[in-house]
Symmetry: C2
């Protein structure tokens, strides 16, 4: 599994690259965007639809699936792939982020973390070893080390202590891993402190993983800090291994991060925004509930070729949304995921053509003009 990642094209002007990442459930092209399938379902969509929209790999959540229906139950169904009927690659996160963002009464020690379920308050314990075992039961192609996702703001002392523990946990994760068919990625922590991030990256490289993620970004820190960390830390991660920016971001974030050499993304934005009626278009995002779309006979985005834009008007989509029709969430999700996957494809082409820098500027201008409209 050491040669699972291969770089096909490198951009001359930025750190961006196009590659392929091979798993036992197939090969994906990078940069790749992973739609979020928290509970073994990309909300509202069938697996076939996710694939048709352009999804090559989906993300599921170890924390959620450990609680419901239970990782051993999923294992008994033949693993996540068979449980949800998705035969392509899957990545599970370790639960580190959810323990910090969702669970109650956390208590972290060197051993691991005690927490209470956000559903029924029951007490649970994750250790590096149990997080790996849970993910082995779930059976994803890529699994993640248990980490502590540090919040923002928090003291440097706390981040330093936490990051060093995350490194020790990463070592234990690797040591406890038993399955040969899964790739275990390490996660770089260190908050907004570049020297701590670098210390973490160096330590993880020494442990040696087939891929590296950057965690705890876009957790409340100023955008300048986010991209300062990305620009300084991504080059510290081995160039011949896939790099995964966890839990972000906007279309512009993706393009920027790819320019810095990131290969993998996951984010709830396209799917969650869809369910909240926010639709992406080539002219900026729109709120479909707005009264101005009441009699609008145009598609969401006249430049979009997705199923939704080929078949339905903004007026009908508004009608579905304001009346909470179940079809609304589906159509909105399809459109937004199609938008994200289109961007990824556009970026890949631009990397091959050497035009990524131009594309990045276009996205910057699009986001700036949207901010002006919003203000």
């Amino acid at each position: 599994m050491n040669r699972c990642f291969e770089i096909k094209y490198k951009d001359k002007h930025t750190c961006a690259r196009v590659g392929t990442l091979e798993t036992v459930h197939g090969k994906i092209t990078t940069p790749a965007f992973m739609p979020v399938g928290t509970l073994a379902s990309v909300k509202s969509l069938t697996p076939e639809e996710v694939a048709e929209l352009g999804g090559e790999i989906v993300l599921a959540n170890a924390y959620h699936l450990y609680l419901r229906p239970g990782d051993e139950v999923v294992r008994d169904f033949g693993g996540l792939h068979r449980f949800m009927n998705w035969n392509g690659p899957i990545l599970t996160d370790s639960g580190g982020f959810q323990v910090m963002s969702l669970a109650g009464r956390r208590k972290i020690s060197e051993d691991g973390v005690v927490f209470r379920s956000h559903i029924d308050g029951s007490e649970h314990f994750f250790s590096p070893e149990s997080a790996v075992r849970i993910q082995e039961n779930l059976g994803a192609d890529i699994i993640m080390c248990l980490d502590e996702c540090t919040p923002y703001p928090v003291s440097r002392e706390y981040v330093e202590e936490s990051m060093r523990r995350t490194v020790r946990w990463a070592k234990r994760c690797k040591e406890s891993k038993r399955r040969e068919d899964q790739l275990l990625f390490g996660i770089v922590q260190g908050g907004v402190f570049t020297d701590l991030r670098k210390e973490c990256a160096t330590a993880l490289r020494e442990i040696d993983f087939p891929g590296y993620a950057v965690g705890s970004l876009s957790v409340g820190e100023p955008k300048e800090d986010t991209f300062r960390v990305i620009s300084e830390i991504v080059p510290e991660l081995p160039g011949n291994k896939p790099r995964y920016l966890m839990g972000m971001g906007t279309p512009l974030d993706l393009v920027e991060a790819i320019s810095h050499g990131v290969d993998l993304f996951d984010c709830v934005l396209p799917t969650r925004n869809a369910r909240n009626g926010m639709l992406y278009t080539s002219k900026g995002s729109i709120q479909i509930k707005n009264h101005k779309y009441f009699r609008d006979k145009n598609p969401v985005d006249p430049e979009c070729s997705c199923y939704v834009c080929r078949n339905f008007t903004r007026g009908y989509l508004r009608h579905l949304y304001v009346n909470r029709e179940l079809l609304s969430y589906r159509l909105n999700t399809m459109h937004n995921l199609h938008y994200y996957f289109s961007i990824i494809k556009e970026v890949r082409r631009a990397i091959k053509d050497g035009t990524l820098e131009k594309l990045r500027k276009e996205f910057q201008m699009r986001e700036e003009s949207e901010k002006k409209v919003a203000n």
Copy 2:
């Protein structure tokens, strides 16, 4: 439009028949089941999926669409077919049933009915003429006369007065109809009183409609009364015209009513039950939330060939349902509609083969054994 209905096969032993009903948006085979698309959407499904499952005609609600988004808005979008992107036949009911079952503070007079919206309490007025105009704006292929749907129980005197007004309204509906491309059906009222039902049927035949419906059944009366009325009134409706039993019923209801000569059905049962986790199977219905399905690796119905049964386990469907995943409502709806359409196809075959009576007894036994299990 007088020759819109053609009978292809008649059952030797019952009053059942297989026919074709032609509309400007295509021909459908009868007996037919119309899935309910209240607000111009069969809840959770795309139009393509409805068709793939076997739907040939869908029902939409004039009352709901008049309130949201408004019938004139739908007209401006090119009518219901273009609005919801369903190019097959559509039937709209007149709103009579919803005014009685949903709206507030009704006041019925010879002119029509004043009611308050169930959404915001605003006051509205439906007359026979406005109900036709609304349905002309919506542009369905089959539209219904405004009727008063009498509740159960209610006095014979009330039913008699109401039925005679419904007949006078039916005449006004026909007189006010302007579009030539729509079929206007009359609705037989008269509660559980057979002589009143017959009086109504005779009066409506005199007015002359291209199709006739039976309304206000399955509104709380004993099942014996329901089928007494059906068996006595359906033969009173012209044999060369389509007969539509409004708003019912269970799989057995369909088979029984078809035996009495009914051609068209609509009912929320398969779709609403689906959203409430009740799934039909060839061995009786199941509640997918039950804990016994937690680790069940079988499909919902091993004898079913639908997309859901081919691809997902009961355990996964239970997981989706108990976690309120949006995909749950879709998959459950697909399965139940497939079940209903399969029954309709089975019944059509049985009519051609002369085996309907045998099939009816099978359905009776199935429902009885299910009752025993439930008790």
